[in-house]
């Protein structure tokens, strides 16, 4: 790793939550910079060039969605959104605008750490990614487009494969229904969320040990899916 200490900017107006997020991230070996307002957060993100941004959606000064849009116009740093339950719809908007993941308040240390690790890992690995992905008893070779389960080839349709490739290419990131429809089916399918659900169910049948209680292709209800290694 070029930089041994990943840099994280935490934008949250509540001091105690900020304190807890800071101590958790520092225990993970991150350098943490705090911002109390959206404006301050944008300035911090501009000067620190962070590897990750933790953003509270309910900021006092600017709308969280505007913050994401602004940041995304010049930064690729992954964003974790902290949201209260009353902002279900905002969550989807935040993800569609460019956030990578979300945590519903209240959340514990373990959840925060898991999300942060996943995103930092993906970010540090950059976009090249690995051609080989293994999970459970499944091995996928993206360069050769082969999917093996317990060493046996698995038959996937073209759409199923494209869907799997999307999930594998965004490990740890929440992919909204809209995003998946656009990337896998094309722009004309954007209002057909049930397509995603049916194909995800098919993928799970082919790849998960217990399709009803998946371990890797996880459901984020009302939002989308997340592939978790």
């Amino acid at each position: 790793m070029a930089d041994p200490l990943p840099c994280v900017v935490v934008v949250e107006d509540d001091r105690q939550i900020r304190r807890f997020v800071r101590s958790t991230l520092e225990a993970e070996g991150c350098k943490v910079f705090e911002a109390e307002t959206g404006q301050q957060g944008l300035v911090e993100a501009g000067t620190r060039k962070p590897d990750l941004v933790v953003l509270d959606l309910g900021l006092p000064d600017i709308d969280g969605i505007d913050f994401i849009r602004d940041l995304r116009s010049w930064s690729e740093a992954p964003i974790i959104v902290l949201s209260a339950r009353s902002t279900e719809a905002d969550k989807v908007t935040a993800l569609d605008t460019g956030a990578d993941d979300y945590l519903a308040k209240p959340f514990g240390v373990a959840e925060l750490v898991a999300r942060v690790r996943a995103l930092l890992r993906r970010h540090s690995r950059g976009s090249e990614g690995s051609a080989h992905v293994s999970f459970g008893d499944v091995t996928v070779d993206l360069s050769r487009r082969s999917v093996l389960r317990e060493g046996q080839p698995v038959h996937l349709t073209a759409v199923e494969y494209r869907l799997l490739a999307q999930l594998l290419g965004n490990v740890g990131k929440v992919l909204t229904h809209r995003h998946l429809l656009r990337e896998v089916w094309g722009p004309s399918f954007v209002e057909s969320n049930h397509y995603v659900r049916i194909y995800v169910a098919r993928l799970r049948r082919k790849l998960e040990a217990d399709p009803a209680q998946p371990r890797y292709i996880l459901t984020e209800t009302g939002v989308g899916y997340r592939f978790q290694l």
Partner: protein
């Protein structure tokens, strides 16, 4: 008149033709007809013929007719005179009818104008009464309340001391005029006229009239119908004004409620998030805390998390109880939502074996995934709370009668006998003093959600033990899925 004509014309007979004399007599008949009406006109016609014969037709001063030619003249003259009399009086009557119509139309117009300006049903009642008063009667407006009982609107209560609710209801329900010609001393006739508006019957107008007007019963009825329809339109218009106002008010209070709830939610959750997070970070601190302190920190974290879920429940219940949660329905895979619910509960299910046993044939079902996930979470959580660790919790489903019946079954002691329905009430718990945590909102929330989807929810006990809660969701017609053409599919493995 005829004699006058005769007197006028006789000196002129030397200068006038007999034919022109006839004309003068006819003119006289026409004038009489226009002025005096039918009877005098006929009399004038006959008198003119007789006078003409007597005075002018040779031999003069006798009714005898010298020439057959004059017989024809007299005959034609009589016929023309009679027809003239007839036509002229008819015209006069028509003019009279037209004038009366015009008066009526004018008064209806004024009524309509007054009603158009009315801003309350009381005003409508007053205007109707005023109108009927001018026509020699009284009007009382009866409007139905929410349970369809008709009652007097406005201060006209004194005018019609008693009306028969029964008769009014007949008129209201059947939409027909009910007329009662009472034989009481006052000799009033009472009509119950339904107020038929374009959308529905809006009420009843009770009209009391003196009985003398009974002779002209037919036009009276027609007049009443017209008045009634005008009043009905006014009442309906006011009704929709009310509806629009209420909708606007509801929207305003709805917005207020939503913003209060989300502000409350944010304000309560922020400190809870801090408590959960800070306590949790104590438990993972390095070096670790002494065991007692560690336990305390974990307890603080768990209690705060529970408090948070109770806050969520209360706020959700507030939203649901207000009846304004509209499910955002999409076509869902039930298995996925069941799996997500189990995944969401995660840690709190530790120690229970959760099995999702859904038949493969379950079609897509249209529901709000977040809300139904909530229901499943509540049911699974309950099952876990009230059954021994290590026991199984099963999520099942079957299709029957156009509904999907989704059930959560545990191996616990079951619901207290006879209280299976009560547990769905707010703040009611199976065992009131139970040590298991909760406020008794979970099942009430679940029921509200299921009912908002057009389903039902029931609890029952399994033999030999175990509780089962089943809820139903209506099956619709799932959208078509365009399958991939087979030529597009390919073996994922190449070599």
């Amino acid at each position: 008149m005829c004699i006058g004509t005769a007197a006028l014309t006789s000196p002129l007979q030397d200068y006038l033709d007999l034919a022109n004399t006839v004309m003068l007599f006819l003119l006289a008949v026409l004038l009489v007809a226009l002025r005096a009406g039918r009877g005098p006109a006929i009399f004038a016609a006959i008198a003119s013929v007789l006078l003409f014969d007597f005075l002018f037709v040779p031999p003069r001063f006798s009714l005898a007719v010298g020439d057959v030619q004059y017989g024809i003249t007299l005959g034609v003259m009589l016929a023309v005179a009679l027809v003239t009399a007839q036509l002229a009086t008819g015209m006069g009557r028509q003019a009279e009818v037209a004038a009366r119509r015009e008066r009526e139309t004018r008064s209806f117009y004024e009524l309509a104008r007054d009603l158009a300006g009315a801003v309350s049903t009381e005003q409508v009642a007053a205007i109707a009464e005023q109108f009927m008063h001018a026509a020699g009667g009284h009007a009382t407006l009866l409007l139905p309340d929410t349970s369809d009982v008709l009652s007097v609107t406005g201060d006209g209560a004194g005018e019609v001391a008693h009306f028969e609710q029964r008769l009014a209801l007949v008129a209201y329900r059947k939409g027909e005029i009910v007329a009662v010609n009472a034989l009481d001393d006052a000799g009033h006739s009472v009509s119950y006229v339904p107020l038929k508006a374009p959308m529905r019957t809006r009420g009843v107008l009770v009209v009391t009239a003196e009985r003398r007007s009974r002779s002209s019963h037919e036009p009276m009825d027609a007049m009443l119908s017209t008045v009634a329809s005008l009043v009905a339109i006014a009442v309906e218009r006011l009704h929709y004004v009310d509806v629009a106002n209420n909708a606007q008010m509801e929207m305003a209070s709805e917005r207020l409620r939503t913003s209060i709830l989300s502000a409350l939610s944010h304000d309560l959750r922020t400190p809870l998030t801090a408590i959960v997070g800070l306590a949790d970070s104590l438990t993972v601190q390095k070096p670790p805390l002494p065991e007692a302190a560690h336990e305390t920190a974990a307890a603080i974290r768990d209690q705060a998390a529970r408090l948070s879920s109770m806050v969520t429940n209360l706020l959700d219940m507030a939203r649901l109880a207000a009846g304004n949660v509209k499910p955002r329905k999409e076509w869902q895979v039930l298995e996925e939502v069941a799996g997500a619910a189990v995944q969401l509960l995660g840690r709190s299910l530790a120690g229970h074996r959760v099995a999702i046993e859904l038949p493969l044939a379950i079609p897509l079902i249209e529901f709000d995934a977040i809300l139904i996930e909530r229901v499943l979470c509540n049911l699974i959580e309950n099952a876990a709370k009230y059954s021994a660790p290590g026991s199984a919790i099963t999520i099942g489903a079957r299709l029957e009668g156009g509904f999907a019946h989704v059930s959560v079954t545990d191996e616990g002691p079951g619901f207290p006998e006879g209280r299976q329905e009560e547990v769905f009430e707010m703040f009611v718990r199976g065992e009131p003093e139970s040590s298991a945590p909760g406020a008794g909102l979970g099942l009430a929330i679940s029921r509200s959600i299921v009912e908002a989807h057009g389903g039902t929810i029931h609890a029952r006990n399994q033999a030999p033990r175990g509780a089962q809660v089943t809820f139903t969701l209506p099956l619709g017609t799932p959208p078509e899925i365009a399958e991939e053409p087979e030529t597009d599919s390919w073996e994922a493995q190449r070599g």
